[in-house]
Amino acid sequence: MLYLELFLSFVMIGFTSFGGMSMIPLINDEMLSHGWMTAQEVADIVAIAEMTPGPLGLNCATFAGMRTGGILGAAAASVGVLLPSLSLCLIAAIFMERFKESKLMGHALYGIRPVCIGMIAAVVIQQSMVNYAGTWLLGISWQALIIGAAALVLLIVLKWSVPKTIVVSAALGLLFGVLFG
């Protein structure tokens, strides 16, 4: 049964990964071993998932499900990849609410909060290397840098919302692309 297979396959991907790029090798293995996609298609889907809004894992699930089993397949795969959020995370949410006032929880969070800030900073550095520079820091894109600087001013100084900033950045990208190709 294809739907069940899609569902189970993405349940496994969901539970054994932590989002983003860490999902790619797992998705790759599952797609190839079931013969649902070729390696080239997996590479394409990663590129397309980056272009469309939404988490990579969900976009891959929707695309793989759609290609193999239509809309029902897409739904089965998506619910599968969301199962950790629906189960483990819901339990964690209930747990967090219950122990919110506990002293130990407060102490643990005192360390967790800054470590998370450090991890966000790491993402900023990693994403900067991908989005503003070419391979091995060669070929820094001045167009991307200008758009990035503009977006920073829009968000922090002018306090624009994220959607508005994204739309303007896309328009600037289009403008630069058409002008300078």
């Binding site: 932590f18 980056e50 967790i112 470590v115 998370c116 800030i117 919302s161 289009l174 630069f176």
Partner: protein, 187 residues
Amino acid sequence: MDQKQRSRLPDVFINFLKFGCFTFGGGWSIVAQIQKEYVEKKRWITDEELLDFTSVGRSIPGLMIGNASVLFGHHVAGIPGALLALLGIVLPPFAIMIAVTFIYGLVKDNAYVSYAMMGVRAAVVPIIISAMVKLFKAGMKDVFCYLIALGGLVLCLFTGISNVLIVVIGAAAGLIYMEVKERHAVS
């Protein structure tokens, strides 16, 4: 579930549908959007709580965006809130991907699409920075916090240690530090 929580459900669902249309850059843009809508504008949660949802969401398997939505939704409107937040954040990308599978060939190598995407990708880092700047004050209370943050940054950048383990190390460091600090205060 009380009246206040129930009255929040439509707001959560509609806003998360909106967030879902603009979640580029691996989940951090939803943090920036929640910050603006629910910390600054509506004041339903604090920066500290948002930071907690983010860290816990990151350390649970699955999609961080989905996890953070569930944690936020449950906090403001119970289990129905969690489910509606998740559904809201997931529906737009789901619908868009279904459309994209039909025009896959057109989108894949289209120059205009890739120009616009260059612009969107260039905005991802500023979006993450704008979220981080606001969460910074919530997480950084003393020198210990700066050291821990630096540790998290270094571990994340230069080692292959998983995010979960880094969060666990942070939790352990917090427990030990606060214990020592309290004993010190007593003696």
